[in-house]
């Protein structure tokens, strides 16, 4: 499980001041569960994800993934903005090639099949690989982001407002897909969103982040 223990974070404000963002936050994301974090913008939801991914150092506290200090490869991420997901200068195929080069995902002669299998799972035509990120739709980019995350065989998936820019119908496709894959692989999923209805529909437990603290979770419809 992912465990946040007494995590504190503050940002510099003005010349000498600091604004607290997270004030002694505790959170547990068990494997195989979908946990939602709700909160308005500026409440620190994305900071929480960035700490887990090692993109932002916390002031104090510990974050562990199955007992091991975060960040680690077992946690993968699907960001909100399509622009943030892929390098705009590389064709999508090159972005995937980079992933295979950096991580020991599979033997070299099996790369093609591995990629084809995961693209098939997320419902993406392999023809899209020859395009640049700006040439594919928002829904396709989110599927490709999901494919990239899945290639690393994560035990946990973090969706940071992953469907906030999408239409309801595409949002429904993507969230259904995530839930199916979660069921197949038994992954833990952390859904960060400002949309209470979405959180209620897909999460088993929903916490609200306000004033730097998490408030007791409510049971989602999926719970």
């Amino acid at each position: 499980m992912i465990e946040f223990r007494d995590v504190r974070l503050s940002f510099r404000e003005g010349l000498f001041g600091r604004r607290p963002v997270l004030e002694g936050l505790d959170l547990t994301v068990p494997e195989g569960r979908v946990i939602g974090i709700l909160g308005p913008s500026g409440s620190g939801k994305s900071s929480l994800a960035r700490i887990l991914l090692g993109l932002l150092p916390a002031d104090s506290g510990t974050v562990t993934v199955d007992g091991q200090a975060a960040p680690c490869r077992a946690v993968q991420y699907v960001p909100q903005h399509p622009d943030a997901a892929f390098n705009p200068r590389l064709r999508i195929r090159a972005a995937f090639r980079e992933l295979f080069r950096l991580h020991p995902i599979c033997p070299e002669d099996r790369r093609k099949q591995t990629l084809a299998a995961v693209l098939d799972r997320v419902g993406i035509d392999a023809g899209l690989l020859d395009r640049y990120p700006r040439q594919v739709s928002g829904g396709e980019i989110q599927r490709l982001s999901l494919a990239r995350a899945l290639l690393l065989n994560p035990r946990y998936l973090v969706l940071d407002e992953a469907t906030a820019m999408l239409d309801v119908s595409i949002q429904a496709h993507i969230m259904r897909l995530v839930l199916e894959i979660k069921a197949e692989r038994g992954m833990g999923v952390l859904v960060i969103t400002h949309d209470a209805l979405l959180a209620g529909a897909v999460c088993e437990t929903v916490y609200t982040l306000a004033g730097g603290k998490l408030f007791q979770g409510v049971q989602g419809r999926a719970g």
Partner: protein, 323 residues
């Protein structure tokens, strides 16, 4: 310049029949709008809803005649009884802003990042209404205050504002020439829920202040549409498949596509619409939703489905009464 024809009060402010927009490019011709029909009365707010690529924004741009190069408009579009498509550039430019104002999407990109808010809102008052600098600034401040923005906002640059505030600044620019029709493209896109409340309040204020202003709000946000609109028009593949009063629409949708769209929302079960939207380059005679429609008959794909009027609702489905 001839005076603008105000039309008779009973006549719709805007009337569209079989409106088509085509764009010629390197590849095959793209048809983002293919036979849209709509009508709008003075003081009415219409939400144009539908998925990305359904032609909503292109329809809005077509009404303001702001389409990209290579685009062609066909069909009929009457604004205050006057044919919009037959107007020469000079006439259109006189109407733009004063008659029909268009507020583009992506408030972050639409504002000039290097100029303060006061100068951008004030520019409209100076250029169009011939005010001097201090008068324009005063007027801009008043307008921004009506939309719930503090006077201090005038001194800010766009990057210093939240998404909701930027959207309200854009709406202020749209309203500055006192148009009769305001078209707002995706006012809530990329804005988080708390800020959407601010944008909603702003729309309510505008409606209270300007009861005669008609608005077309292009949005893919169904909840936002439900809260601000009098009427809803659902677009799919460049056509309006259903047009209905908002309360009736959210109570019961008549077109299978409208029903499928609502069911995809998290609050209604999050059931995805099977299949993919049709290509924008191929035109078919029949209902564009028929390949994905659970209730389609063989004839749906080949024969046109002209809009049928049922009370205040118009629905373009051959089978609406049998489903």
């Amino acid at each position: 310049m001839p005076p603008l024809d105000m039309g008779v009060p009973d006549e719709p402010l805007l009337d569209l029949e079989n409106l088509k927009v085509s764009i010629e490019g390197e590849g095959p011709t793209v048809w983002p709008v293919r036979g849209a029909a709509l009508s709008l009365r003075r003081g009415e707010t219409l939400a144009l809803i539908g998925e990305s690529g359904s032609g909503k924004s292109m329809l809005g741009l077509a009404l303001a005649r702001l389409l990209p190069e290579g685009a062609r408009i066909e069909g009929e579009a009457r604004f205050e009884g006057e044919n919009l498509l037959a107007m020469d550039d000079q006439r259109m430019s006189a109407l733009r802003g004063r008659g029909i104002a268009f507020v583009p999407q992506s408030a972050g990109l639409a504002l000039n990042p290097c100029r303060r808010v006061a100068s951008q809102v004030g520019e409209v008052f100076r250029r169009v209404r011939g005010m001097d600098k201090s008068g324009a600034r005063e007027e801009a401040g008043r307008l921004l205050a009506r939309l719930g923005l503090d006077r201090s906002v005038q001194r800010y640059y766009p990057h210093q504002l939240s998404g909701g505030m930027r959207q309200r600044v854009l709406i202020a620019i749209g309203l500055a020439c006192r148009p009769r029709l305001l078209i707002v493209d995706e006012p809530t896109k990329g804005i988080d829920l708390g800020m959407i409340g601010e944008v909603e309040d702003c729309f309510r204020q505008v409606r209270a202040d300007l009861p005669d202003l008609a608005m077309i709000v292009i949005t893919h946000d169904l909840r936002f549409a439900a809260r601000i609109a009098d009427r809803i028009a659902v677009m799919y593949a460049g056509r309006v498949l259903e047009e209905a009063p908002a309360p009736a629409f959210f109570e019961e949708q008549k077109h299978p596509y409208a029903r499928a769209l609502l069911r995809a929302a998290p609050e209604h079960g999050m059931i995805p619409i099977p299949g993919t939207p049709p290509s924008m380059t191929r035109l078919s005679e029949g209902c564009p939703f028929s390949p994905r429609c659970p209730d389609a008959e063989t004839c749906c794909a080949s024969e046109p489905a002209p809009p049928i009027r049922i009370g205040d609702t118009r629905v373009a489905c051959r089978r609406y009464d049998r489903i």
